[in-house]
């Protein structure tokens, strides 16, 4: 599998560290309540289709990435810098 890092270009997936669902980009406020925190940390969708994920270009530029990937076909729909998604 290959991912196109917005900074470095297309690279083999071995250069990347996989973290998990992109839910973790949206950290709840401390007082958001149990449900919000439970959702942030534990509840995950498991679709047979597109999933938003966070990866790190660990062996490359070090950028954290938001990747949209079809987990059935491994087709990469988009790769964005987490930094830009957040701003």
């Amino acid at each position: 599998m290959r991912l196109r890092c917005p900074i470095c270009g297309e690279r083999d997936r071995r250069e990347f560290y996989y973290q998990g669902a992109a839910v973790m980009l949206d950290r709840p406020a401390p007082d958001a309540g149990e449900a919000a925190w439970d959702n942030y940390l534990h509840l995950r969708e498991n679709p047979a289709g597109d999933l938003e994920e966070v990866w790190s270009h660990d062996a490359g530029c070090g950028a954290w990435l938001k990747v949209t990937r079809n987990v059935s076909t491994h087709e990469i729909k988009s790769v964005e810098l987490a930094r830009e998604v957040k701003q």
Binding site: C8, D12, R14, A59, C61
Partner: protein, 179 residues
């Protein structure tokens, strides 16, 4: 009392030649990582201070003795001169002079050798002189820059100097045997 003695990561080893390729420990001088602060306009200051362009991602500028190598997200490695003091108000400067093992790999088969270690297309059409990448070198993370027609500059962590040499020698031998 005796002075502290400086040692290079590969302990000033003699260049190693196998087949058409030679690996040489490189003395790059002072290494400084320069990470510009938010909104900093560092390019002009840098150019004025060091006489070379601030490199875009995946590019290196300068020449032997003074290079600016893109070194990761929002970071450049200045190799050679001490950093101009004026840069400090634009960027976080960190001394890295002792943190990296630097070698050059040169020779007709250098690309073939690196094809055994680096998962990148380093062909001249795709990776020209002045191109650089942060990538893997076998199992290590590192930096590779084309600094000549058939010469590459490789950097890995200082502690991995022996592994870098081992991996390079193995690949060089394999390529040399193929002829």
């Amino acid at each position: 009392m005796a002075d502290l003695i400086a040692k290079t990561p590969l302990d000033s080893m003699e260049p190693v030649t196998i087949g058409t390729c030679t690996v040489t420990e490189a003395n790059l001088g002072t290494l400084t990582s320069i990470a510009p602060y938010a909104g900093a306009k560092i390019a002009d200051t840098f150019k004025t201070a060091h006489g070379m362009a601030w490199p875009a991602p995946n590019r290196a500028t300068g020449k032997d003795g003074a290079r600016a190598i893109w070194f990761g997200r929002d970071m450049v490695l200045l190799a050679g001169p001490d950093p101009d003091a004026g840069l400090a108000k634009h960027a976080a400067l960190t001394d890295q002079s002792d943190a990296w093992t630097a070698v050059t790999l040169g020779g007709a088969d250098a690309e073939a050798v690196l094809a055994r270690l680096i998962p990148l297309d380093l062909s001249p059409a795709n990776f020209k002189r002045g191109h650089t990448a942060r990538t893997q070198i076998q199992h290590m993370t590192g930096s590779v820059t084309r600094i000549g027609a058939d010469t590459f500059l490789l950097l890995v962590f200082r502690s991995m100097a022996g592994t870098l040499l081992h991996d390079l020698e193995r690949a060089m031998a394999s390529v040399a045997v193929r002829g």
